[in-house]
Amino acid sequence: MSSPINHRRPPAAAAAAAHRPINGQIPSPPCPHLADFRARNGSKPFRALQACLRVKPPGGRAAIRREPSEVPRCGACGDAARPRLFACMACAAVSCHAPPGPSHAAAHAEAMPPGHEIAVDVDRAELFCCVCRDQVYDRDFDAAVVLAQTAASTLPASASSSGGSRAVVAPENLRKRRRVDYRPWSPDPRERALMGSFSSPLESVPTSDLPRGLRGLNNLGNTCFMNSVLQALLHTPPLRNYFLSDRHNRYFCQKKDGVSGNVSKRNVDGAVDGGHGSKNGSFCLACDMDAMFSAVFSGERMPYSPAKFLYSWWQHAANLASYEQQDAHEFFISMLDGIHEKVDKDRLRPQSQGSGDCCIAHRVFSGILRSDVMCMACGFTSTTYDPCLDISLDLEQSQRGSVKAASAKSHHSCNGEAECMNSSQNSGIPTLMGCLDRFTRPERLGSDQKLFCQQCQVSQESLKQMSIRKLPLVSCFHIKRFEHSSIRKMSRKIDRYLHFPFSLDMAPYLSSSILRRRFGNRIFPFDGDEPDASNEFSSEFELFAVVTHAGKLDAGHYVTYLRLSNQWYKCDDAWITQVNENIVRAAQGYMMFYVQKMLYYRASDKMGAS
């Protein structure tokens, strides 16, 4: 399970990936002059600079001023307005640098004895090598800047318990467990004997070159919303592995519930079921999932009828129990909730969903979202964490006039986003990454939505920004294609095409990346940066299922496309057909399922099956 899914990557991407910083470390070594400076002075001069770092909230750009009201001037020409003024790190002399004109900063470095090569941009807090004539970067310098910037966003040490500069409380439940190597399981002699006596191997089927687990689902009457989601879940790798390795045994579960076997009842698939749930109010969606997995992976190719599952789900979701067609996403959330609730009632598991310790549904789908609200007046930032099972995204408005869109974006961002032009804005096609960009963009809350600021002690206009603190094993993206207008009292479906990639790197949407951008892309471990280098792949995801909706709001049809061994299959209720990947690319995605490319294992607290 730890083998990465093979996927072709253009050479440029591989090269770029090699330079990607791990936890904000600089991939390339410092220039010889900076190295020299560090050897001679260590990081003391950078820390000493902290007293001169002035941060203008909100947005937190740092400038260097000896006094708050100082107007720096070039020592050589008296100019205060050339685009760049540099203060020498050795003697604090201020010089200008504005090619193609003469560089007084370079002249200073040349004229002085060795040691005056490194200077700092007084308006941007960036290091500069006057000999290389290039901006240079240093971890300790950046740390000093970030500390000054974050001081503005938190309460002073005396007022808050967490104190000082980094008052961000990591979400509970992110216990650090030791990472272990994957070891494939093999049965021991006792298990081998058990398997031999109580089970029989599945017959090989004639169509054995087709993957196991491909099986149509009968439409029970307007139930394609359910079938489409079930097909995606039946092929969600961690979920499939969980059920197929007997982690939830339906016979054992029923026995525990004290439900007596009712052998005379013929059930779907002719299987003997314990009559679990009939009329005694007790049902278990996980047991029904277990039965479904067994049936679907049995090798039998005639379509399966998920009737028992429907029955159990209707008992769980009483308000959704009706013959009319439902929304696939609502069903998805409801059934995961059903699996969670049952587990909660049975065992004394922790209720917290963020860690995924409570049930398999959360273990697979639960991630943690971070929400930051920043006061526009003083810069104080309050942070909350919430678990989420999926991410619902607004469908981007079509970008007419990309220039307008770009300027609107930089107006909203804190420090002036340099990467405001991306390809989707230029071509006008909404993309999943574009939606995620919007999702994590700083959003100015209007003057009618003022929030109380703990520092100012009044309600202020604020800036809100979402980011992903912890990625789930499987990310489900739900596109809000339903538009409801309360003014016009009508609802409509947005059919606009959305591009979604087959491979997705979630790194730009992580809390660590969002925070890093907010504080000027400094080299600094931000909330969520993992100390170990193996983090490099854990934000890469591969698409494995797409639930699509075709047709109108009140007369439409759900179909799921599955990717197995890089081959795409169309699951249309009972009909399974093979399709070219371009059909999937062109389809109207409603829910997209991505799984982490690399799965890492952590040491378990307890041995044996749970």
Partner: protein, 178 residues
């Protein structure tokens, strides 16, 4: 800089032009400095990959729109991947786990709705009798809206039935099979 032509060389015009130039230079350096940092630290997004993906999807859409290719996208199926065919309404027979009767798969949901006393018609029927109404309120909890992160509000539903306004007659499930 909308100074009229005659004022081009006036001291005021020159001064404002000078300040504007300084501001513009400063902004340009801001962006250059940020881009330099992003590039040096390897934080830039791989736009080539993204553009390639977009190109592929555009081509795919063009091909899908082409009528000569409609064989794959058309919902008219001849045989499935295993060589089987399936009727418009699923005809597997099994026992209802609520009442025990033999039901055909494709008609199971409407049967179960009445059988369990769920659904709009059954609810309306139940509302007329007072004891039944009492039972309805004391029965199990409604499904909890899952995420506290409030995006899955009930206004964002793509249902295939009607939007469930009370009193409206539901078109009784248009068959989705072609």
């Amino acid at each position: 800089m909308s100074a009229s032509r005659e004022d081009n060389t006036s001291p005021d015009a020159q001064l404002s032009s000078h300040f504007f130039g300084d501001l513009l230079d400063s902004i340009i350096v801001d962006i250059a400095s940020e881009c330099h940092r992003i590039a040096k630290l390897g934080l830039d997004r791989n736009l080539e990959d993204e553009e390639e993906e977009l190109r592929r999807s555009t081509q795919a859409r063009v091909r899908a729109a082409d009528p000569s290719n409609s064989g794959e996208t058309n919902s008219k199926y001849v045989v499935d991947i295993f060589g089987q065919t399936h009727p418009g309404v699923a005809n597997e027979i099994f026992d209802c786990m609520n009442c025990g009767r033999s039901i055909m798969a494709g008609r199971f949901a409407p049967h179960l709705e009445k059988c369990m006393g769920k659904g709009r018609k059954a609810r309306l029927k139940a509302a007329r009798s007072s004891t039944a109404a009492q039972n309805r309120y004391s029965r199990g909890s409604p499904a909890s809206t899952y995420s506290p992160y409030s995006n899955s509000t009930s206004t964002n539903r793509l249902s295939n039935g009607s939007t469930g306004v009370a009193g409206e007659d539901l078109s009784n499930g248009t068959s989705e099979e072609p």
